[in-house]
Symmetry: C2
Amino acid sequence: MRSDRSGQIVVIFLSIRTGADDAGYGAAAAAMESLAAAQPGYRGIESTRGTDGLGITLSFWADEASALQWRDHPEHKAIRDAGRDRWYQRYEVIVCAAQRSYAWEKG
Amino acid sequence: MRSDRSGQIVVIFLSIRTGADDAGYGAAAAAMESLAAAQPGYRGIESTRGTDGLGITLSFWADEASALQWRDHPEHKAIRDAGRDRWYQRYEVIVCAAQRSYAWEKG
């Protein structure tokens, strides 16, 4: 977690899994995190999935251009197709502009 | 999950719990969700926490004014103080403006 996100683009991905092909899903998710981290303008990923099946992944980008480049990356597109075929029951994507942020840690 | 978030304010809350006082935390979290849902401009909450301890909560607001009103709500402030005292090891808040969103569901 970091403290200064102002001006970044945040792509929020909410998803409910089908429960099918856990191994394939896990491998693809790890591969996508590595690939994203290698893209220009990448500023981080935070991801979690609860026991109720709701997953929330945040990816952070320096600007709109780098977020769009990632959306249009061929490998990312291919894995999204696989996701619709196999892994996801439903999902929602929300693209946001971060206006301000702050962090707190126990002293 | 919904599909049209454009123009909404999204408050992203990332947190790591201390592990202390699970019961108190659970009760407070449920009370805050109910209280938030009763505020003007409330547009929804999505929340999840993974087994690694990272929690992500998104609250959606009609506009900046309603998001600020919720931030400044006295009960919300009191519970944040309790959170720093007891429940959180660290957290990050990111306030964003949603630019576009879309949803997909398996047919």
